[in-house]
């Protein structure tokens, strides 16, 4: 890549030019915006739709939007949405079956022409995309829709300048600094955005922002803004005995204990940026002449997820929680050569009873059978 090593700077209103340029190039630009008292990801046409002056307060089982005392455009952490909904949509038609004179014919439906530009991707979320790349692209079989959309993806990352109480990316070594896997990476300071360029197309696009080389004062402000996020991260997860700890403690009494608290509501798997389980439903027309096969997100917390030959393999909540956590933190490493957790803390925030996986891992470690 013909990358300039210089860090660039542009003023905040210029971000609209970036949005416009991406749209001109055919991208559907999706970014953070406020909906139903949360910061979610949706298509945005204007920088006015960004959650300017808002922040999120997070704790186990708690999420609240609060007014900031400044006008920061990206002064929040992460919300209930993750970018996986664009690469691995909650619902996708995989295949259509049509009844013809010669019997059933099958039409692949995974082709897709949407190009997405993601605006505001955090370091932990870049890591989540890299993890899903391994799941959907690096195995013996690829997910065709993911592949199509991933190839065309444009990523504008934004470095965190603050952390939530639920964040632990430093433990998972995924952040908070955006190091790789973006086209552009911004750091917000009062006067504008500093911008690292990560690809040729990023270099090309940023030209519209009239960006100039950042001054050393601006770079200093950006560095201290990023350091603030590092300093605010208090939550830790010891990963020194992962993988191994959880698969080695499948009979640990803690599973029963957490199973008694867990509601098996599936929230943690829905908000997780790496969870990839899915199911397929038959959508038929009234005459049964045409059937669509629709894939939708599934969860290992759904009872019928483990249906086998008339009964359920995982018949209680403890066994489902155990499946989720052992997969996420332990067997994922055997399967994909990486942890399935990026330390974003969503599963802690959005758990209605505030179950905190970092606490569960610590509890299992405390009385583990070596």
């Amino acid at each position: 890549m013909a990358q300039t090593s210089a860090v660039l700077f542009f003023s905040k209103p210029r971000l609209q030019s970036l949005l416009d340029e991406l749209r001109t190039r055919g991208y559907c630009v999706v970014g953070p915006t406020i909906d139903q008292e949360a910061i979610i990801y949706d298509e945005i046409l204007s920088v006015d739709e960004l959650p300017r002056g808002w922040t999120d307060e997070q704790a186990p089982g708690q999420y609240r939007l609060r007014r900031r005392d400044d006008d920061a455009w990206f002064g929040y952490v992460v919300g209930p949405h993750s970018w996986k909904k664009y690469l691995f949509p909650p619902k996708t038609t995989l295949l259509s079956a049509e009844k013809t004179a010669n019997g059933w014919e099958f039409i692949p439906r995974a082709d897709d022409s949407t190009s997405f530009a993601l605006l505001g991707v955090r370091a932990c979320e870049l890591a989540a995309i890299r993890i899903q790349d391994r799941v959907f692209l690096d195995g013996p079989y690829q997910d065709p829709l993911y592949r199509e959309r991933r190839q065309r993806l444009f990523i504008v990352a934004v470095n965190c300048t603050q952390a939530a109480s639920t964040c632990f990316c430093t433990s998972m070594k995924t952040g908070p600094r955006c190091e790789q896997g973006f086209d552009l990476a911004l750091t917000e300071i009062d006067s504008g955005f500093l911008c690292d360029v990560g690809s040729d197309v990023g270099q090309d696009v940023i030209a519209v922002c009239s960006a100039v080389e950042a001054t050393s004062e601006q770079q200093q402000s950006a560095a201290s803004a990023r350091q603030q996020a590092v300093d605010q991260i208090e939550r830790r997860m010891d990963t020194s005995d992962l993988p191994g700890l959880l698969l080695g403690n499948l009979d640990h009494p803690r599973w029963k204990e957490v199973g008694d608290r867990c509601l098996s509501c599936t929230n943690c798997t829905m908000v997780c940026p790496t969870c990839f389980c899915s199911s397929v439903t038959e959508i038929r027309d009234l005459n049964m002449d045409r059937v669509d096969r629709e894939r939708s997100w599934d969860s290992c917390f759904n009872p019928d997820f483990s249906y086998l030959g008339g009964s359920l393999v995982r018949n209680d909540t403890a066994s489902r929680y155990r499946q989720w956590l052992t997969h996420k933190l332990d067997s994922w490493q055997n399967q994909f050569g990486t942890s399935g957790c990026v330390g974003c803390g969503r599963c802690i925030t959005w758990c209605p009873v505030g179950i905190d996986l970092t606490e569960e891992v610590a509890a299992i470690r405390e009385t583990s059978t070596p």
Binding site: A97, W104, G139, P144, L250, D298, V313, D316, R322, S331
Partner: protein, 285 residues
Amino acid sequence: MTVHSTALRANPWLTRTARIEDVIGEISGVCTYRLTVSDKNGGASYGFAPGQFNMLYLPGVGESAISMSGDPARTDSWIHTVRVAGNVTKTLAGLGRGDTLGLRGPFGTGWPHEELIGNDIVIVAGGLGMAPLRPLIYQLMSQRDKFNRIWLICGARSFDGLLYVREYNTWRKGGIDVQLTVDRATDGWAGHVGVVTLLIDRLQLPRPEQTYLVACGPEVMMKYAAASGIRLGIAEKRIWVSLERNMRCAAGLCGHCQLGPEFICKDGPVLRYDRIRKYLFVEQL
């Protein structure tokens, strides 16, 4: 050894039209289907490794993972032996010659054919578990001189639950020591009564350190069969079993079929016993 198609690698949901050419009634509730596929992109291929499976799709009803049960040397069609167990198999049972369905595959791992060469082999089949083992039996018989002693220990609830009985004599003539047992003797049954492990336990293995045990059947049967094999001196790494779990995609993408770190669809269904033993004994895993 496994067979994978590059088209399926790029899109594992690619489904082809399969036509039912013949239906053979086997035991009660079980039929064998011969299927051909029409491939618009050129000739149809029927290559597979014994132990692999296809996803059979009945539009509007769903898909079911069904192992190949025919001769892997056969190049004109796919053979599947199917028991009516759920909605998909029930709907399939209502179809006949000339009807069409969807098919994608082959998926999964096969029996360790190369490793078996030069060794003694104990094949253990329980009930319908015979179906994924029959391609292996055909393969072993076609190269019989490459293997030493071969036993087939075959169990079923009763005599009328034994699959492919009409072929046992051919297999015996082909150099396979076929031994049968049933859980419950019915009129006319003069053979063994009891579980398959009773027959495994009685085997006089001339060289257990060069013996493989391959098993397919109910999970509890395979665990006991493996335990019997280990008692006879067969190493865990020479024991292979074929497992079954709920699966949607067959390609390691939907997450349903996990057992510990293994995806039964792509790491299995045929797995080496030492690799999965500890997970088989954990309840509700």
